[in-house]
Structure formats: C-alpha cells, structure tokens
Symmetry: D2
Subunit: 344 residues, 4 copies
Amino acid sequence: MSVLNIGIIGAGRIGKVHAESISRFVSDARIKSIADPLIDQKGIEWAKSIGISNVYKDYKEILNDENIDIVLICSPTDTHSQISIEAITKGKHVFCEKPVDHDVERIKAVVDALSVNSHIKYQVGFNRRFDHNFMATKSIVEAGKIGDLNILKITSRDPAAPPVSYIKVSGGIFLDMTIHDFDMVRFISDAEALEVYATGGVLVDKAIGEAGDVDTAVVTIKLSNGAIAVIDNCRRATYGYDQRIEAFGSLGQVSISNDTDSSAVISNASGVTAEKPKLFFLERYTEAYVREISSFIESVRTNSAVSVGIIDGLKPVLIGLAAKMSLIENRPVKLLEIEQKYGL
Amino acid sequence: MSVLNIGIIGAGRIGKVHAESISRFVSDARIKSIADPLIDQKGIEWAKSIGISNVYKDYKEILNDENIDIVLICSPTDTHSQISIEAITKGKHVFCEKPVDHDVERIKAVVDALSVNSHIKYQVGFNRRFDHNFMATKSIVEAGKIGDLNILKITSRDPAAPPVSYIKVSGGIFLDMTIHDFDMVRFISDAEALEVYATGGVLVDKAIGEAGDVDTAVVTIKLSNGAIAVIDNCRRATYGYDQRIEAFGSLGQVSISNDTDSSAVISNASGVTAEKPKLFFLERYTEAYVREISSFIESVRTNSAVSVGIIDGLKPVLIGLAAKMSLIENRPVKLLEIEQKYGL
Amino acid sequence: MSVLNIGIIGAGRIGKVHAESISRFVSDARIKSIADPLIDQKGIEWAKSIGISNVYKDYKEILNDENIDIVLICSPTDTHSQISIEAITKGKHVFCEKPVDHDVERIKAVVDALSVNSHIKYQVGFNRRFDHNFMATKSIVEAGKIGDLNILKITSRDPAAPPVSYIKVSGGIFLDMTIHDFDMVRFISDAEALEVYATGGVLVDKAIGEAGDVDTAVVTIKLSNGAIAVIDNCRRATYGYDQRIEAFGSLGQVSISNDTDSSAVISNASGVTAEKPKLFFLERYTEAYVREISSFIESVRTNSAVSVGIIDGLKPVLIGLAAKMSLIENRPVKLLEIEQKYGL
Amino acid sequence: MSVLNIGIIGAGRIGKVHAESISRFVSDARIKSIADPLIDQKGIEWAKSIGISNVYKDYKEILNDENIDIVLICSPTDTHSQISIEAITKGKHVFCEKPVDHDVERIKAVVDALSVNSHIKYQVGFNRRFDHNFMATKSIVEAGKIGDLNILKITSRDPAAPPVSYIKVSGGIFLDMTIHDFDMVRFISDAEALEVYATGGVLVDKAIGEAGDVDTAVVTIKLSNGAIAVIDNCRRATYGYDQRIEAFGSLGQVSISNDTDSSAVISNASGVTAEKPKLFFLERYTEAYVREISSFIESVRTNSAVSVGIIDGLKPVLIGLAAKMSLIENRPVKLLEIEQKYGL
C-alpha cells in the first residue's frame, strides 16, 4: 500500500502537535509539506527535524500539490471554512480543527461542498472524544452498564482566563469553550439537544464582562432521549484544568476524574494531599491528540467513516448559538428555533 | 440548672429517632411525654424502655402540661403549622420537622405567632445542616478557603422512589425532596436565591408522571452573591443514597462524597470495588440527627439563637414554589414574583 | 428478663468509655457501681450524671456485691490478672482490658481459674476486632472473597510517642502496641503464628532507646496456614493514627483505609487535600468500643461464647514475647520455643 | 552536533520497546543496526518499518562497526556480561538490560572493564526508576517532605506466574523479580542495605516449589540510614500488576498507587468499581522505557554521568544473594557476609 502524503496548514501550537503525533505514531503516512504565512527560521528547523520536506508561506502550495492526499487545517478559526471548501474541491481529505466556523452559513457551505464530494473524508477536531477517560465513559454508557441515561453532568473549567483580546474574537464562552462540552453531551448521550437554558456571570474578570462575555456559566440541555444534561464552566480553576463527567442512569452511574502527573499522595500534619489535575489541554489530551489524528488517517486509509464528521461540527455550534440566545433573553431556547432561523 | 422537660408529638420513625438521640446523648433534659393518636402497645413499650413517663393519644395533653418546656413536632406535615402555633401560644419552645408547611400563608401564621412570642426558640428540622460532611463544607467555605463562591453543585438522589400514594401528598419533588437542597444552597452559600430555573422528567416511574410530578430534575438558581447553584435530583439511584456537594470558588474547590459502612476495597479480576453509599437518610444522617436535636436543646438551655429558624423554614418553600412554577411555565422565575404573590 | 448489674473497676479514660457506651446503648443492663482508689469529686459527679449508684475507692466492694453480675476490669495492667481471678472466683462474668498481663504465668493462672469456673464469660478487650473496617475485612476474607490468604499487611502507627515514663512500664513496643496487631493477625487470618522475626530501631526518640525499647518496628510472622503476615509500627505519624490492613490472597485483595472526620477534599493551587485520619484510638474506635461491650453483655445475657476469650488474650502475648526475643537475638523465633518455655 | 548511531543486540520484546522509543522520541540519534540470531522475516520488516538500516544475525557485526556509538544489550541474561565487556573494549557506550548477570564474578569483570575504560557510559536497565510515580516518590523523599525515612514499604506483584521453564533459569524470585524492588529501595532511600531477612512460601503453584523456588515472599532490609525496608512479592495478583510504594518518615508519608487505563468509576447495585491496575510491565512502564533510554542517550550526548551505573547493577544482585541465603538458612544475613565472600 502506498504512503499517504499529508500537508499541514498552520504551524502554530496545534499544527505542531498533530505533526509530531503523525511523525511519531503513524506509519505509512508522511508529512510532506507545511504552510504558515508567519513561519520563521525556528519553525523551519523544527519542520526539518521531524522530516517535513517542504515549508511554505502560502497554503495554496499544498492544495495545488497533486501528491498530497490529506490536509490538516490548523489555521485561525476564521479561515477554516474557506480553506475547507478549497481543499475539498481539490479532492483532499480534510481534518479541520474545531470549530469549523462560528457562522452557520459558512459551515453549511462546507456541508454543501462535501455533499457534492462524497468520497472526501472530513473530520472535525473534537479531540476530547479520544481522551481515555471520556472514551471509557462512552463505552460504559453504550454498553448499557448504567441503563438508560437520566442525567449527564459535565464539569469543564480552564486553569486561567485567556487575555481579553482573545475573548473578544472567541465568539463568546459558549462557542469557544462550552462547544467542547456540547460535543461531549452528544458523544456520551448519543442523543440530540432539544432545548437549552444558559445562565452565567462575570465572576473571574470584569474585563471579560466589559467585552460582552461571561466567564462562568451553567447550561442545562434537554435531550431527545429524555435525559437532562448540565454543564458548568469557569474560565479559572486555581487547581488546574478540571474536566470531569458523571453519567447517571437507570442502572447506575459512571464518573471520571482528572488525570494527574503521578499518583503520589503526601500525608503530613497538614492533611492528605494528592496532585492537582494536569495543567491544561496539551497536557491532559496529549494521547487524545495522537488517537484523534491516527483515527482520521485510518479512516482515509481504509475508506471508512470518520469518527467526527461535519454534522458533528455543525451541531455544537447550533447548541452554542441557542445558549447565547438563552443567556441574552433569559429563557430556554429550543434548537428548532435556531435551526429554522438557518433553514436547517 | 433544672432539667428541661420535653414532649414529643408524633411517635413515627423520626419521632423515635429524636427520642433516642435525646435519651442517649442529651444530659439535663428528659423526655417526659410522647403523644401519637396511632401509638400501639409496641410503641408504648418502646417509650417505657427509654424512660418516657407518659404516653398519650392526644397531643394537647403535652401542650397543656405546664412542666413541659420543649415540644418536638414530628407529626404529619399538614399538622405542623397548626400545632406550632398552639405550642408557641402555650409558651413552649418548638422543634418542628421540615417542612413547616407547603402553604406559605400557614408558614406566615407561624412567623406571626413567633413575632409576638419572641422569647420562644423555634427550630426547623433541616437535619443535613448537621451532617459532618456538609458542616465541613460550610466551615471551609465560610473560612474563605475557596475564596468567593462561583458555582455550587448539589447532587441529591434517593435510593428508590416512594409509593405513588406518597408522591400524591408530597407537594411534588421540589417541596418534598429538593427542599433539603434549597436549604443546603442557602446554608453553604450564605446567600439568597434570586431566580430559579427548573427542568425535569419522568424517567423512573410513569405513575409518578401520572400523579402530576417529575422524578428527575435539574434546578439552576441565581444567588444574591452572584454565584450559580445547580441541583440534580432523582428518585432512584441503584447504588444508594447519593448526597454530594461541590462548592467551587475563586481560590479553589471543596467537595464531599458519600459515607460508606466501611472503607473496605476489594481488588480482584472484576476490578477494584468499594462499598456503596450508606443506604438512606436514617443511615447517612444518624449522627446529624443527634447534633441537630442537641443543638436545639442547647439553644433553649443557653437562651441563644437557634441554628435553623422559621425564616430558614420559609425560604426553601418559596424556592420550591418558584421551581414548581418554572417547571410548569418553562421559564426562569424570580423569587420576587413568589414573594410578591404572598405579600412578603 | 432481669436487668444485668455491672460493676466497673477503674474510672480512668477507658473505664469511662465503657460506662458511657453501656449507659447510652445497652438496654437491660445498668452500671450499679464503679470503683477507683483515685476517684475525685469530678469523677463522682460524672458517675452520678450517667446514673451510677455507687462509687467506691476499693474494688472489693464490687466483687463482694452479690447483686453484681458483670465486672469490667479497667484498672492498671499489673492488676488485671489478680482482679480477674478474684472476680472469677466470686462468680462474676469478666470483661478485662487488654493485655490480661505481660507475664505468661499470671495469664495461665487466669486460664486455670476459668477452667474450674467454666460457666463464667471472660472477654479480653481487643477493641479493634469491633472496628467497622476491620470487621468488614474479616467478613470478606472469611467469605472467601480473596481466596486463600497469602500475605497480610498491617500498618499500625500512633500519632505521637507516649512519655518515656510510660514506655518504661509498657512491657516494650511488642507487648504494648504491636499486641493489637498480633491479635489482628489472628483475627483476620484465622490462623496461628508459627515463627516471628522482628526488627526495629530508635528513630523517633532517643530516650525510648535509652529506656531499652524501640519506637519503630517491622515484624514478619509465618502463619499456620502458610500465609505471611507483616506488621509495621511507629510511635509517631505526624498525620495521625494510621491503622490499615491489606489482606492479599489467591483470588484478590481487600484493603481498608483510615477514617476521617469528613470526606471534604479541598482542591486549590497547593494540590488536592483530604483530611488526616482521625486523631487517635478514642476517636477512631468510638463505635468499636460500643460494639465490643455490647457484644460481651449479649454473650452473658444469652449464655453464648464470647468473641474474644482468654486464649485470645494469651496468644498475642506469646507472639509479643517471641518478637521481643527475635529483636534481641536477631533471629527468627518459633512460637513453639516460647510455648515450651512456659509449659504450654 | 553529529547524530549518534545506535546498535541494538537482541530483537525480542524489550529490544523492540527500546527501538520504538528511540525512533519516536529521541532526536539526533538513529538506530543503525539490530542483531538477533533468531530474527525472522517479520522482524526484518519491523526493523525496516522504523528505519533500521542493517539487520544481522551476529551481534559482532554491530561491535565491529566503527560508526556505531552506542550498543543496547537486550539479549538473554547469560550473555549480558560477556557482550558488555566486548562492547566496552570496542569503545561503545552500553545500555545493558537488567540484570547485568546473576553471577557476581561476571559483574565484577564488567566493573573491571569499565574501570580501564572510564570514558565509557554504561547504564543498567532498571526501568522503574523512570516511572512517573516512583520518580515523584523519589523527588518528595529527596526534597525532605517526609523528613528522615523510617519505613519503606514496597508491594510488587505480578499478574500471573511465568512458566516453570522460565522459573528454572530465572535465578530465583529474588534475582528475577525482587531485584527491581531492591533497586527501588536503594533509589528511594538513597541508602545501602546492611542486612536482609527473607521469608517465602509456595502459595501460587506447587511446580514453582518443585523447581526450588518460592512464589510469595516478604523481605525485610535494614538500611545504612537506620530505616527499615520491607518488600512483599507474589507471582500472581488476580487484579493485575501491583506496584506500589509507601515511604514513611519523621514528617509524614508519601504513597503511590497503581496506574489504570482510565479513571472511570461505575456505581451500581454491586458497589463502586474502579478499573484494575494496568496489566503488566509493558503497559505500566511504557513511558518509563522512553525516559530511561532518552536519559541514557542524553548522558552519552552530554558526557554526563548515567542515572543507573554498573554499581547500581551490582548492588541489587548482592542483596538478592543475601535474600536467597536468608531464605535457605532462615536467618538474617548481613550484606558484609556476601561482599566478603566475593572480595568486595
């Protein structure tokens, strides 16, 4: 079987993560090219060190290379949908970082491009689906070990708030942060959101409020299977990245806790102290990133369905928009309302 | 100092719990009389065995006994407010089981009776405030160890649903079950509820739905200190009585877990298995009941403020009514709306 | 059925614990008298407050009272065997605090007294057998859930070393502290010690070494069922009273951990911190003391075998003497050696 | 700086582990050659797939290649010392799997070869020193967080006994299995063993006893810093690979527990069940193997001291021989006795 050639668009933090995952763990695939308008000498050296042959400023060099089979879109969010459509049109399989876009119309354009290029594999980068803990939760729920799902609780808190400059272009907490949790709700429950009620506050940083966003939120979602999901978010948890799930059902409950660097527990006159959770997403989801990209390349290689498709990219955005409307109008918002607005 | 004489009205399960707590752990107080229209020979023998001198059918015998200092009202809920007022009028200190009533007007009548008998100690039986775990949580929050409260999460699930006959007279899940959690929200947060959004479903037993109630619920509460509380309830948890709290704030988080009969953990080919939580409230809150009643008697003895007063009995009912309205009308309901309705 | 009359000899800490356990939790039994040559006015008031009619200086007043059915020996260790024999001779049922004696000959004298008074119930105060955690461990092992026992590990550490004055009369660490663990080995394993190897050091307090004792020890015991037990002791654990067991067998393992005052866990920038173990034996074994004394009184009432008999009092002393010899001579010592020495 | 060329001798399980670790995670080093007399077509393909240029039957081809800087000895134990000496003589830096040998004289020959080739880096494959949990323990002890070490407890149990054919050539449990724990004692305590007492039994498989070995053992070690170490081993733990440490000292305790595949905990009517420990050493120590080999290559690259030298390879063998003698002669054995026997 021939080696798959990969081009990576965007050589920032996440582009590098995927490049290294592939170079270390994926055989029969090689990263042929990487493109980033801002790449510097250090970036070029890094690319060489992991065996990438070509380094470009312009991503079109990658799209125009007939020998490239797969494109990874790791550029800024506002370029995702445009590059996705170009890549699809050029016949490339696409792995696109989340979110595909904050704008539903632009995601719909990607859906349309895919519908006329149905042989293209298109995966959205919801990395948490590949976390060992969330995967275990999913397996247990799917295997019926907790019976019918009744209540799904997701805790998702960042160690520290990003700069307000980031907040301003983030699309707001629901499209930037909670979007992962909306995906997780769909992943674990295997059901769709029907109605969303969101509440929130500015408890971490007033500047976030001044930027028109909240930094703390609780979102309740009624699901199509009758279960209720509830998500709590905060932009700051002093003890680190807090990512937990409890799925409660008719036969029992499964819960997962945070990962730590070690299981060391110190007992002394001050108490019995374990380690804090791993610092942030790069630490917590290191292995998940490997599994994610390996899964996508395997889908291409075996011509099988991707694990996180374009619809999985669209739905959390719709839920996020419903949450945003709910917060602003202080009322539960039906997904149908959002869907109708966008002719879905 | 003279021995305090106690009369207990109601010799059901909870009346017996308090009687035994007092006889074992409270010195300088004695249960002089107990009254229950349904008391049988076995009950009379039990009363004698713990040294109760008088057993009556009619609770008025207790109220008319001038030597009785303290009355414990452990009769059915719909008699609480009436007996409370009679006892207050007779100059008795009153410990009244929760809830004081489901009807706000009747609670207000107790408030009024107390306002003209201001020397009377009146405590409401929110036993969870005396649980070692919840007390520890309260202390930690109060001491500022988690900073300002941001999110308060309460899990409260019963091991099994009560009979539908009980559901029908229970006042509904929010006044019957969540009411404890509403009290816990006030206790831990030291803040008042401003607005409530409740959602729920019938996921355990259709008959509960037919009786006009839900058996599974998630309630979100905006608090006067800016924090958000979220409670999840279910009438059935196969693994036992699930009563947990997480309080998350600007400096960290405190969480408590369930108690078990022992810390034994078995590791074998099936996994690493710890015990289920203690079965139900009598098992979980055994010591809390002792602390609760001791605290009340101490308040009487030392003429100091009770730890759970009539307003603490009223507020959770108001929150419960807001939750009920929220569920029915599918919208967030302000407490102010409920308070204005009742002229509060 | 008639009420059992109890006399308590020794009104120190442990005598008071038993008195209060009985007065609170044991019905159909009453403490008629207590004797202590050092009892003061405060002690007399305490005795009255829990309903004890007679307070004596001389324990013989209790032994001579024909209406006393049961005697609790809570006096200093060096009086246990003598008072035991007197009480047995007077026809009293006896609960004797551990150890019966440090001297094997004197324990044998009690065995002899019991053999000619076979109707007498005689229980030795190994309270840990009644701890909820150790009971759970025992049940699990007994039920075969870990299969055949292979390795039994006991951790037993005190929060702080006692004064050297106490050490000097304690009989040494093995007869004073490890003796509880030797009993636990027999209790959990349901087997007898065949050979003991003890090693130890003076790591806590040089004065303990100067008094001829060690303060830290590890004892390995070969058991009659082929299993190996290993105990580690220290006179000082900064984090509190550390009392744990791991029983490992052919089908798995059961382990128990320490009890805490609450399950509160604080997560902050310093880590994830749970509470220290309960401070010391009175806190850890509060309920065990109630079960212990209740069990004994129940044995008397129902004329059934006691749960911890005189042989259970003798055996740990023999193991302790073997450990002592092992430490001094730096070699494994067979129990047979000790038994032969004492003609057992 | 030039790329280091590596030759691997032995293409069995552990040789492959190191090859893959290097190819994935070590930059500026490449595996030039691998040699194994038994390598088959599948092995050759595997070697090509990770970019190894040369595959030999005869390891001398590697030793004779002047361009090879580093040799990894992953061949059977009885060839380790001989190949080590040859490689050292040829000027290669050597990473040798544990144990260097079971025979002290042959290890001494390696020590001698190194003493006349003092520029050679020689590391012994005690992988557990690179486990995140054991490293954390070491750091905490070294940082003084538990004060002076008093008691060091190591639990080390395999999931299932190896075939008796393996047992027969294994050197016995102390040189085959406990040797890792002896290393761990030295690693964590930073002290040397003075005296060893070992006891053991045949509780898992009679055939192991017939082969002259035990399958269950408890070893107590007196250390040069006054602390006492105790190790318990078993060849079979139904719940998986059990590798834990407790280090107890004057200021507190640190303990580590086993790793699991996920943190999922299922609560249902049967209890509250977490996952079993990771299956065996390849699963538990995956990352440790990467750190181990990376550390060695870094030592070569920077000409700095290796983390586990030849003396660290020798000492555990001496402790193992002392344990063997202790078991046979049923007495504590001083290390001095063993050292004098070998003129050390």
